[in-house]
Assembly symmetry: C2
Homo-oligomer: 286 residues x 2
């Protein structure tokens, strides 16, 4: 009978194994689902950053525009890899953990079934034991044979139970290894791709030519000046059109009264001051 008693402890250990696995895997499942969700949110924020970079790039001069667009493209690429990471985590980590939850329920049901069968078998054994003790000696052998048969049945059930839990444990250990190996592989691939893309992004940002961009900016500033001169109607209505050219020249030629008669509004006359100012600005900021 002791082996049957001991099997009760074993069943308890088995049930504990399954209960613990159910609880732990449930928590692993929600934590890894949360991890996946938060990764997706990080991707969303980075996607917004990409959009903002492109929109800002469009307001910048060609050099910075190209730099920011390339950088935005690289950042978008990292998010594509992050998206792949999210999808893989769902498929190879979160979903298997969900399936695992169902498998555990099934194992639990099997254990319950075997336990119930075994309990009936033990009851039967107790009955037979009483019968054997009460039987006259000539019938004891028959009673013992019945008991032995019943005991074989109980043992077989115990074995089936043991096999169920053994199979469960083996599957559990395999699944833990598989799921976390997959997690690590997915993460590793993502991080490796990110390193690759960011290396290229770093090159992009490093090769940005600030001076060229500043030249463009200064030219733009002075093109505005040029354009305004070509179309003097901008705010002229509010001011006297008879104001002498000397006013315009004074920025480089302090007081050059000898040039005050040279009132000219044609574009070519302004090429020099633009160039001068540009040179001046460059010197100022070098």
């Amino acid at each position: 009978m002791n082996i049957i008693l001991s099997r009760d402890s074993q069943v308890r250990v088995m049930e504990d194994t399954v209960t613990n696995a159910e609880k732990s895997f449930g928590q692993f499942c929600s934590l890894l689902a949360a991890y996946t969700r938060k990764t997706a949110r990080l991707r969303d924020t980075a996607d917004q950053l990409v959009k903002q970079l492109i929109s800002f790039a469009n307001t910048e001069n060609p050099e910075m525009r190209a730099t920011l667009r390339n950088f935005a493209e690289d950042l978008a690429k990292v998010q594509d890899y992050r998206q792949a990471e999210v999808e893989r985590l769902e498929t190879k980590v979160v979903n298997p953990l969900k399936l695992y939850g169902m498998q555990i329920k099934q194992t639990r049901a099997e254990i319950k079934k075997f336990k119930s069968i075994r309990n009936n078998e033990i009851k039967q054994l107790k009955k037979l034991e009483k019968l054997r003790q009460k039987s006259p000696s000539d019938r004891q052998t028959i009673a013992e044979t019945s008991m032995q048969r019943a005991s074989v049945d109980a043992s077989r059930t115990s074995h089936q139970l043991e096999e169920t839990v053994d199979t469960f444990q083996k599957q559990k250990l395999k699944d833990i290894q598989k799921i976390f190996s997959d997690f690590v592989t997915i993460e590793m691939v993502f991080h490796a791709k990110a390193v690759e893309v960011y290396s290229s992004a770093f090159q992009t940002l490093e090769s940005y030519d600030l001076e060229k961009d500043l030249e463009d900016f200064r030219a733009k500033m002075h093109r505005v000046y040029g354009r305004c001169d070509a179309r003097p109607a901008l705010m002229d209505t509010t001011l006297s059109p008879a104001l002498p050219w000397s006013l315009a020249q004074s920025s480089q030629s302090t007081i050059q009264s000898q040039r005050k008669e040279a009132v000219s509004e044609d574009d070519s006359a302004e090429e020099d001051p633009v160039e001068d100012l540009r040179g001046q600005a460059q010197r100022l900021h070098q």
Copy 2:
């Protein structure tokens, strides 16, 4: 006068440059702060996963326990690097963007100041222009000289304005390059470290010995059985103590009536069936 008019357009371009920068950098700042925050949340979730792994490891057999603890350690290491990433993003990306916002306000104030000075100077010029036109010819030269002086002042102010915006633009372009280069470097370092740590974690999980662990599990199952037999009081009170040993033996020896007299409860007598069962279980699950 046209150069002064044109400077109004220039001022508009300058103001647009500053306004656009203020808006864009504001958005970059909140997006990168959000990115940092979401990275911190990902770290928190992974930290919980680390805790759960350790707590689950403690319920497992030595082989899986060691594997999961090593894996948890590696996962924790990645979170340490993520923490460093979060801190660096705050220090080298988000904070400079915040400072940049203050710098923009300062530039805006300077532009406002210069604009106001310039407007006064232009008013002054208009007054002088009227004066010059009304003046008798002998006093026109004096009026013109005053005008030229006023015009020089206005040009100087315009220049200061231009320099302010030029400095601002240069700083802006430098800051964009610096901030995003820092962002890329921080990310790159984190991802590279993650690849390194996950590679080691992958090795840990790959070297896990499932069979060794299953042996431990099976031994544990049967140690429970052994322990129960050594302390037969567990549930014996409810059952007849006179039940023959044959019941316990029947699991391996179907019907061995010749052994039914060998009622024995000493531990040594059970060594064989334990070994037998263990061997049986191993065969079943190999």
